[in-house]
Structure formats: structure tokens, C-alpha cells
Symmetry: D3
Subunit: 167 residues, 6 copies
């Protein structure tokens, strides 16, 4: 059997408890799982790609078969370069479904040999989105239910330095 | 029985017939209902927060138990400050549901003692959104079915002064 | 202020932790909350209406302002007879929304003075439905996460007596 | 690495091109994939469980790592008995999502170690449901786009013998 | 230009104000519009096919280009027999969409030359379904907002004769 | 019978195989079909309105009854000016539905005599959106499955000249 490599792509700005939940669930499916950080230069993320990789690194070091990388090309080109053939995505709520459906079928059209598999995020994290977490953190709210203590600290530092930063 | 205070939060840029429909329906649930205007400095509203309060004031003065205020913090912090424990929201269409669901569960996580209750907007206003109304008004369309005459006049003045204003 | 009476209608065949969650959240809105059991003769429930009332009675006796009754007419006629004007319903998932929307607007058409208010079920109970619980119990599964111990005992007795009963 | 066993459960009454599409896509995820036929005695299927197994057998014999079995207990009990820990399900359309979400989270509650993974059915089969196919076949329509020739023959035989059979 | 014939299929058990709304809107698209009543023997309708045709006849006689017929085969076979090539359907709410999408794409697969066009039902009738109307009428409720006086009279007669009839 | 004129409005930035699919299907409904390009100055399109008209012109010249124009006013005012009374729109996926529902009911409120009719895009194009296509083209991906060769060439030229252009 060839090695099963899974790619878990996202912006991870920053990584949430919901993302980590999917990583833990996804480990069983793959010999190696790569958390692939889209650099997305157009989107003006709160954390730059190196900060995001550093944050993820701290969270995943306990998993032997998981590692993290960034990419700045089409996802399917990155997947091919890694000699992987499976993309992992989490589904939280119904509205995710249609976007994910569109992305998965588009990627299948662009690269028929690459498949997307989905896992359900724990219902405890069903309402956790990076965008919402940043908005709460910016307004001084408690995000400890949504991110790990390390990420919480990073968010606090980011907004202390620059309280007006757009989220 | 302690006083039942309800908070009806929103951007109200501007207040629509759909919002007023929810206020009328919500009155029965609360001894006092506060229309809470999010100042949302990041969003570049068409009407600034004082204009929005002024417009709302004109519409709600006929309701004895309703008043209006602005807030610029996390909604749950504002709710606590008012010693309220219930948030009122209107549901118009299915896509509202998932966003509202996410917000209500997030707020419940941040403040377990605060609840959100929902009422259905009249089907006559199911398609009324502030964003769409502003777009129609900007292009010179008739918005009298969506807002009161006073709000219609405000929209007309706003776009007469500055026809190129972004909506 | 007149007494605020809320009606929480359903089949409750049997009452679940999700239903009890809504009752606890709804208490704050009403001076009196009536759990109204639809006798639904056409639906062939697992528990007859008296059994369902008995089960509910055991669960709600700790709440001073909550009581239970059955009805076998149009819901709005029952609501009027109780001199209530507000119906309480729980929303769990997106598909609930459209059904509830249809029922609420239909009831509003039949009786414009009666309103429906909605609360969100805790995400822990988002997947709990009476139908599914009965199916799991029938196949000998553990339903303790979905119903109280008293209801679990009832389900076990029901299926022990008649393992082939349709669910 | 222990053997990865996947369970693909369903009623398969009868198996469609959409089901076969998911099987082909799922093969890559598992060392062994078991197509698990729910006997569902309550549902009055068109084909009895032995016929369904026989039909599936003919379709999957070309896949070395796929086999078929029936089960008549709770799915999670069957999964445990097979020493598997992953359930495979196909998603076709948005309405599937909510049902599947409910089932997956319920199964996770009943058996936290068992996960469900989802794959998207090819858009060519997005509208294929066993129920609809049976209705078309009963009315003499051409179902060759939805099932294999062998299944088509079976449907024709079934409805020739008993044109009035309920679907 | 050949004659444009549209087929508006349904069970119409009985025809509602929502159906009549679609007929009025659809007239403009076709030289002839045929209201096609599915006899659906399996479904045990409240009104038999002749009663349904008679009721529809009374409602549509004012429209010169509309007539009514029944059919008991696959819809696309009926459409071909009428030398029509367009099916008209109404959309009321979101959940209609997915069912209609599935039917339209299935019919397109079975008969690529036949198209389905959709129109939106007036929001006043968005919550009107034949099933719900029958349930309200059976319980003695006022259905005058949902059906014409003639249909209301028919429903009253039907339930007076046989109050226990299943709906 | 007066001439039946249909208006197919959109941004068409650029026109996709999905749009062309709807045009081909829509031809049967109208004596004349006008592809109406919204100039949308606020949205910063990739192709300016003249480029979009030129691209569409190349694609539709084979259809005798189809022509293309731009408009920069409210859609319903444009429809009235063309003495048309029917708007054609394509539906691809469920999330389209709610937006289209809102637009159609809003336009009906603004101009009761104008109707919107919908057709289903072929499932082959269900995931094709102009936004996604531009993103793929910008990253050097193969968009030949989503647009015609002429449009593909245009996209390549646009991104060769200015690889950093926002999409």
C-alpha cells in the first residue's frame, strides 16, 4: 500500500479549537497529514503566513504524523506536488456545505484523481469561525472557549499593539 | 417578578418596515424594549450613529415601552450593563437562520445567562434588507414599500447630496 | 401588566432533553408556561397521550411556573381558550427553520394576535429527535444522552413488552 | 499501522450508479471497504435483503478490497463487531447534509471512537435516489442513466411480475 | 413560431390560491397552458381525480388559454404526447427548491428536449400547502385565506361527510 | 400575440459556460432574448463593460434571436424601457435560490407587471461561478471546462498583463 498523505488546507488566521478537532479526527485516515496554510496575499490576514505557521507548529507538535506548510499556488497543484491525493475538510454547519461542495467539485474537475473527504466538527465548535473569534478578541471578549491558551495570548498581543486593526 | 428588559440589537442603517414589524411584535414579550444601535465604526454606514438614533427615535416615539440607544462594545457586555438578559432578533428567510444560530450560540457561550429569542418578520417584509433598500434608493427607485415616509425622505436627501456614495 | 402565558406545543413522544432545555430557557419569558401535548390520533404515537402527560409531569414538577395539558383541536384555538397569546418553539437545526416558519406564518394568518417566539436548543441537543431516540431504543442502544433516566426506563419497558412496535 | 476498515452503510434498494461512484472513490481511503446493507424490516423494501446483497455482489466483484454484508442491529454495534472505526457516507445535495449531520453526531455520541467521513457524489448522480428510480421504473421509464444494466434488468423483472407494487 | 404549450403538473388535492397565483403568472409565457393533474393512485388523495379536475375547471374557466387534464404515466411521456416542451413549476420556499431541482434534472436526463421553468409564488401564499390546508380544514379551521370560496365549500362538505378521513 | 421579449441580466465578468447554457435553454421561451450587462461601476469588474459586451457578442452571434446590451439603472426600469415583461435567471445551487427569491420578490414589489422566470443550469456547470473562474485563472489554472476558448484566451491575456489584479 502506498503512503496515504492527506492535505488539510485553510487560511488558519488563526487556528481554532474547531480546526484542531478536525486534525485529531483526521489523523486516523492518513499516514501523514499536512496542515497546508494558504498564504492568500489578497485577503490581508491578521497574522502573516509565518506567524500562522508558528502558531500551528506549537499546537501540532504533539502529533507524530502531522506537519505544517504554506502554499501560494492553486490547491490542487500543491496537492500534486506533495504526491498526495486526498484533501481533508471540516464541515460545521449547513452553509459550509454548499461552499465546500462547490470547491470539491471544482477541484475534481481540475484534477480528477484528487478527492476531498469531509469530517464533521464537534458540535461544541459548530459556531467557531476565525472571523468571529477575531471580532470578539478585538472587542476584548473572552475567546478561551474557541482557541487554545497559546492562540488566545497571540490574539491579545496583536490587538494590544494595534487595537484598531481591521478584522 | 423582576422587570423584563429586551434588547433588540442591529445596525439599522436605516431602520426598515421589517425592523419596525419585529419591534411591534416584540413589545408583548418585554416590560421595556431597547433598540440597540451598533455603532460599527468598521463598516462605513450610510447614516452615522447619531443620524440612525434620530431616525429610530422618530419611528418609536409612539411606543411607550420602547427606547433607543447606541453601543460600541461586545453585545453581551452591553446587555449585562443594561441588566437585561434577553436579546430579540427577527428571522426573515432561511439564510438568516444560520447566521443568527451562530451568533446566538456564540453569545450563549460567552454569557450563559443571556438568551436570544426570535420572532418571524411578516412575510410582506421577508425580502426587505437595509443593503438592498440603499441600492434601490441610490438608483432612484421607489422604496416606499420598504421604509416609512420619514426614512424615505432621509434616503432621498442623502443620495441627492452625494449620489456617488457607496452602498 | 396582564399575566404572560406561553404555550409550548408538541407531540412529546416522548419528551427529550432537548425539549427540557427549551422549557428551562422559556421560563424566563412567561409568568406561566404550558407544555401542550397534541394528542395527534392520526400519528400512532409510541406513548398514548396520558402516558406522555404522565412522563412530562414527572420532569416538570420542579418548575413552579410550568404545567402540562393535552389538546386535540387546532393549536390556535387551544391558545385562545387558554387566553394566551404566545407560542414557544425550539429551533435545533436548519431544516427545522422552514417547517417552523411555515407553521408560524400559517398560525399568524389564522389568528393575527397570536405570535410564535423561538429559542435555540443547546448545541448538545441539536441532533436529538424523538423519532431517532425511539429507533435507537428499539434496537437496544443507549439513549441516556438524549432523555432523562425516567424516560429511558419508560422506553426500555415499552420495547421490552413489544420489541416489534413500529417507530 | 492497523488495517483500515471502512463501513459504507445503506439500504441499497437497489444500489445506484451514485452508490457505486462513492464506493470507487472510497476505496482509496481503506484497506477493506464493507458495503453494509441495513435489513430495515420496517421499511418494506422492493428487494429483500438477500436480493440486495446479490445485486451488490454482482457490481462489486471487480473491486478486490470491497465486500458486502447485511446487518440488522444499530449501525455502531455492527461497526464495532467488524473492528472498524470509520463509516463512509456520500453527500449529493444540501438536504442530505442535515440528515447526515444528525446521524453522524448521534453516532459519535453513542460511540465516540467511531468517525464518519463523507465524500461528494459525482454531480452526474446528484439527483439519483433509489426512491425516484423505483418510481420511474414502475411507470416504465428508462432508468439506464441511474443504475447499471444488471440492476435495470432486475427492476424490470420486479415490476413486470407485480406492476402494482408500492414504491 | 410554433405554438408554445406549457404543462403545469401537480396533484392539486385540492388546488390552492398559491397554485392559481402561478397559473396567472404563467399564462404570459405560453400560448396554451395545461394544468395536468397526476392521478397518483398510490397516494390516497382526499379528492379523487375527477373531483380535482372538476374543482380546477371551476377556477380556470375565466382564462381563455388554460385548460385542465389528468395523466397517469411518467410526466415526460405526458408532456411529449401533448407536443409540449416546457414544464411550469412554482417555487414557494427554500425546501421546494431542492426537490424541484432533483425532479427537473431527472426529467432533463430522461428527456433532454423538455425544460422546466420556475416562477415564484407570491409571498402571500408562501406558506400555503395542500397538505396543511387539509389538516386545518379537518380540524374545523378557517381556510379562506388559502383557497377560493368554492374549494372551501368542497373541503367543508368532504369533512362533514367523513370527519375521520386521513389527511 | 405581442412579441415575447426576455431580459437575461447579469454582470457577466466574464460570461461562463453556465451562462451560455441558460441562454440556450431560454431561447425557446422568448421571441427575443436580450443579454443585459449591468455596468456595476461600484464593483470593480475584471473586464470593463465594453469588453464584457464584446466577449458576449462573440459567443451569441450564432443565435438569431439573442442580442446583448448594457444598462446602468435599476433593472426594472431597463426592462420597462425595452417593453419587456419577463426576466430570465439561472439557478445552479441552493444558495442561489434565496438571493434570487429576494431579488425576484423585490422586483415584483417595485414593478408588479414584471415577472422573473428561472431555469436550472446543467449540473455540469453547477459549480461554475465567474468569481471562482477568475481566481483559478489568476493562479494559472486550467479554466477550459468553465468558459469557452475565446473567454479563456481573454482571461489569460488579462492576467498576463497584470498578474496582481484583484479578483
Amino acid at each position: 500500500m502506498p503512503e496515504r498523505i492527506g492535505i488539510y488546507p485553510g487560511t488558519f488566521d488563526p487556528i481554532t479549537r474547531g480546526h484542531l478537532d478536525i486534525i485529531e479526527r483526521g489523523i486516523r485516515l492518513f499516514d501523514t497529514l499536512i496542515v497546508a496554510v494558504a498564504s492568500n496575499p489578497g485577503k490581508a490576514p491578521l497574522f502573516d503566513v509565518n506567524e500562522r505557521l508558528e502558531i500551528i507548529g506549537g499546537e501540532i507538535k504533539k502529533y507524530k504524523s502531522v506537519r505544517s506548510e504554506s502554499f501560494d499556488c492553486l490547491l490542487i497543484d500543491y496537492v500534486k506536488k506533495k504526491k498526495a491525493s486526498t484533501i481533508l475538510r471540516g464541515l460545521r454547519v449547513m452553509s459550509d456545505f454548499e461552499y465546500e461542495f462547490q470547491m470539491a467539485l471544482t477541484n475534481r474537475k481540475l484534477a480528477p484523481g484528487i478527492e476531498t473527504v469531509f469530517m464533521m466538527t464537534s458540535e461544541s465548535y459548530a459556531t467557531v469561525s476565525s472571523r468571529l473569534i477575531k471580532e470578539i478578541a478585538r472587542l476584548g471578549g473572552d475567546v478561551s472557549g474557541f482557541v487554545t491558551p497559546a492562540v488566545e495570548k497571540r490574539l491579545r498581543e496583536k490587538f494590544r499593539k494595534n487595537p484598531g486593526v481591521a478584522t
